[in-house]
């Protein structure tokens, strides 16, 4: 229950709540514009919605990942001690982002049902599910890199820039390995690559050696 409350609390925080509203609004707009008008039978709404949804989730996950304060080896509280432990913060942020996937799934389910693409729905939903932790990990990595290179100011540009770079790389390779836009549309190696990224992210966030020391957490609780 404590985890559920923490995730709810994270979802309700203004930064995430605003982006979630934007996410829902974007899906409403996309599905409405892609829906066939009167007199037309061919429904291609899923082909617009699925890639935009996956790309939005990737961008949001990378963005929120890059906003985490996991620069140093965790196990220590943030300097001010005013918020939760950065590791917990990162975990709950990731869980909240993962909650976006089922919450927004009806848009994709309905457009998939009406469009009747050859690609299965489960595969498409699985792609979005592995995209979130994979790109969240990419955001964490970017944050670390920019911190190491002391170019934190570059972070707002680096997040979309790296995603665009990966998409460009895919086009050069001629296969879908990293591009979240194209990944939802057709079977490709992307789910494997994304699953690998998701596994690394989860290992990074959940491995025992990264667990905060109880005494520090207790001290943090007493401090709050």
């Amino acid at each position: 229950m404590r985890v559920l409350e923490a995730v709810t609390w994270r979802l309700a925080r203004p930064d995430m709540a605003q982006v979630f509203v934007l996410f829902l609004a974007a899906q409403v707009v996309v599905v409405t514009f892609a829906w066939p008008s009167a007199g037309s039978l061919a429904n291609d709404s899923w082909f617009a919605l699925a890639p935009s949804r996956n790309a939005f989730l990737a961008l949001a996950a990378a963005g929120f990942g890059a906003s985490q304060l996991l620069i140093r080896v965790p196990g220590q509280l943030d300097a001010a001690g005013a918020g939760p432990h950065p590791l917990h913060e990162a975990r709950y942020t990731l869980l909240a982002l993962l909650a976006w996937v089922p919450l927004s799934a009806p848009f994709e389910v309905v457009s998939h049902a009406a469009s009747f693409p050859a690609t299965g729905l489960l595969g498409s939903l699985l792609v979005t599910l592995v995209t979130v932790p994979a790109y969240f990990g990419l955001g964490l990595l970017l944050r670390k890199l920019t911190a190491l290179l002391r170019v934190n100011w570059l972070l707002p540009l680096a997040v979309p820039g790296v995603i665009l770079l990966l998409a460009w790389l895919d086009m050069q390779v001629g296969n879908t390995l990293f591009n979240p836009w194209a990944a939802a549309l057709a079977p490709s190696p992307y789910p494997l690559v994304a699953a690998l990224g998701a596994g690394l992210t989860l290992w990074f966030l959940l491995s025992p050696w990264r667990r905060p020391r109880p005494d520090v957490v207790a001290a943090a609780g007493a401090h709050r």
């Binding site: 229950m1 559920l4 409350e5 995730v7 709810t8 979802l11 309700a12 709540a17 979630f20 509203v21 829902l24 609004a25 899906q27 409403v28 599905v31 409405t32 829906w35 066939p36 008008s37 009167a38 037309s40 039978l41 061919a42 429904n43 291609d44 909650a99 089922p102 919450l103 927004s104 799934a105 009806p106 848009f107 389910v109 309905v110 049902a113 009406a114 469009s115 009747f116 693409p117 050859a118």
Partner: protein, 530 residues
């Protein structure tokens, strides 16, 4: 200077040495290649003698029609017969049609026969290959694609008909002298045949072949008096001088050649293409209409607002409720918007009745939602130019998303359910024929099985016949059967009427009302034996 003069000398010596040394080599190469050429020429000649491909009736293919394909092999191993046809135009680009058949071959003479649709093509090439080599190959240039239907003549003097056909049909005449043995016995093979003239001066054709020609839509004209060897043809006439059989008709006249050809031009037979086009004017497949945009906007917006309210006001239980709500909406939305099947299919059959036979032309419309490769076990051809391939397993099409396809099957023969008996329509089928329509008079009523008495109902409607009625002559009967899955539209032409200027038809040989079914019991008279 010396150096300069020495240089041309050296070059000349080098050339001389090269020529002297190289000539024998060149000679050997030349002889070798000559031998190789001769050898390959011998092999080709030998192979050409073992393989003979014939496309079309008597080797005259008709574009935009089903044509018989016949491959004759002698001592050939099992091989693959491949036809590559480009049915594209300058505007559309290449639209390939590939046909592959496995041919068994074997020792001695073997035949392979198949019915193929030949579109208007830009290029046609064929080859017969084994895994090791090409046994035979050939090609037909696009300019040889002729859409004119054939006028076949079975006579010892084909030239005598040329002028008569040119006078009557003009440039559309395509006269072909055919040997009786080359007449196919499949009615579908006569798709590209307009008429068949038999004057009794050549060997008698098979009764089945003549019946197949008539039922396949050709006008068979018998020029009497026919010799005794042709007596069995009278079985098809049943004592009359003109008779309809399936989609075609048979005429017997004792007249001059030009009068016979004139009679052929007067016989009205149904235009299958026009009737088929009218039949599929309205889509056969009715797809489920998508949800209206305005309804969709309201629903998705309401869902999004509900979700935000639950998350904002509900706390942790609100998150659980939002997740459950999303799941519920997904399930309901899936069931509401998902079409029942990924592919919708509907078939309409056009039945052209004449006597006891009907020629059945089935047209199928397919609407596929996902991109798919459609494989049909039966031969079929698309009504609009479309790339496809055909092999021993069937006919295959690659269809893009949300695309429809109209397919035509080769002609088939069946029993005529709607018949004219004594000038009165009778239902000889197992199901009720609905809304009988007599062109020129109007709606008549329904016909129960076995009945010739019209039943009237309140649900009568002549709307379905309005597209067909202008395409057929007055006195034609139209009907649709009480269809459950496949609707059959019956078209029954009135009796053949020839102009009074033509000489009165004499009683055909063997006349007097032969009522034997020619397909089951052709007479075996010793006199008729060759």
């Amino acid at each position: 200077m010396t150096y300069r003069s020495a240089r041309p000398l050296r070059t000349a010596l080098t050339l001389l040495a090269a020529v002297l040394l190289g000539f024998p080599a060149l000679l050997v190469l030349g002889v070798g290649s000559g031998v190789a050429s001769a050898q390959s020429a011998t092999e080709s000649a030998a192979l050409a003698a073992t393989v003979r491909l014939t496309l079309g009736v008597a080797g005259h293919p008709v574009a935009e029609a089903w044509n018989p394909l016949r491959l004759e092999l002698r001592d050939a191993p099992p091989a693959t017969l491949s036809l590559q046809i480009d049915q594209g135009t300058l505007r559309s680009g290449a639209v390939p049609l590939n046909i592959d058949f496995e041919v068994r071959g074997g020792a001695g003479v073997s035949f392979f026969e198949e019915l193929v649709f030949l579109p208007s093509f830009g290029a046609l090439s064929w080859r017969l290959t084994t895994e090791e080599r090409v046994l035979a190959s050939g090609s037909v240039a696009g300019r040889e694609a002729d859409t004119r239907r054939l006028d076949l003549v079975l006579t010892s003097n084909p030239g005598a008909y040329r002028l008569a056909f040119l006078d009557t049909f003009g440039s559309s005449a395509r006269l072909v002298d055919v040997a009786p043995a080359l007449l196919p016995i499949d009615s579908g093979a006569y798709d590209g045949v307009r008429s068949l003239i038999i004057d009794g001066t050549s060997a008698a054709p098979r009764l089945e072949a003549v019946a197949a020609a008539a039922s396949g839509g050709a006008i068979v004209a018998l020029r009497g008096p026919l010799p005794a060897s042709h007596a069995e043809l009278a079985l098809l006439l049943g004592g009359a001088s003109t008779v309809r059989l399936g989609a075609g008709a048979i005429v017997y006249l004792e007249a001059e050649r030009d009068q016979l050809v004139e009679a052929v031009s007067q016989v009205q037979v149904p235009s299958r293409q026009a009737l088929q086009a009218a039949l599929v004017q309205e889509p056969l497949v009715q797809a489920q209409a998508p949800l209206k945009e305005t309804t969709l906007v309201m629903l998705v917006a309401a869902f999004a607002v509900m979700l935000l309210l639950l998350l904002r006001l509900g706390g942790a239980p609100g998150l659980l409720a939002a997740l459950a709500f999303s799941g519920l909406v997904a399930v309901v939305g899936w069931n509401l918007t998902r079409p029942d099947a990924p592919r919708l299919q509907a078939t309409a059959v056009l039945a052209l009745g004449g006597s006891e036979l009907a020629t059945l032309q089935s047209t199928t419309e397919l609407l596929t939602m996902p991109k798919t490769t459609l494989s049909l076990t039966q031969p079929a051809r698309p009504l609009r130019p479309q790339a496809y391939w055909r092999d021993s397993a069937g006919t295959h099409f690659v269809l893009e998303r949300w695309s429809s396809l109209l397919l035509e099957a080769p002609l088939a023969l069946g029993d005529a359910h709607l018949r004219l008996e004594g000038g009165v329509p009778v239902n000889r089928g197992p199901r009720t024929l609905r809304d009988l329509y007599l062109v020129g008079e109007g709606l008549k009523g329904d016909l129960e099985p076995g009945s010739s008495t019209f039943q009237t109902s309140e649900e009568r409607s002549a709307d379905w016949a309005r597209t067909l009625a202008p395409l057929v002559p007055e006195g034609t009967w139209l009907a649709i059967d009480d269809c459950e899955s496949v609707c059959t539209t019956w078209v029954l032409y009135p009796d053949v009427q020839l102009a009074s200027a033509l000489p009165a038809a004499a009683e055909p040989p063997g006349g007097g009302g032969a009522t034997i079914d020619p397909f089951r019991s052709a007479p075996t008279n010793a006199q008729d034996a060759p």
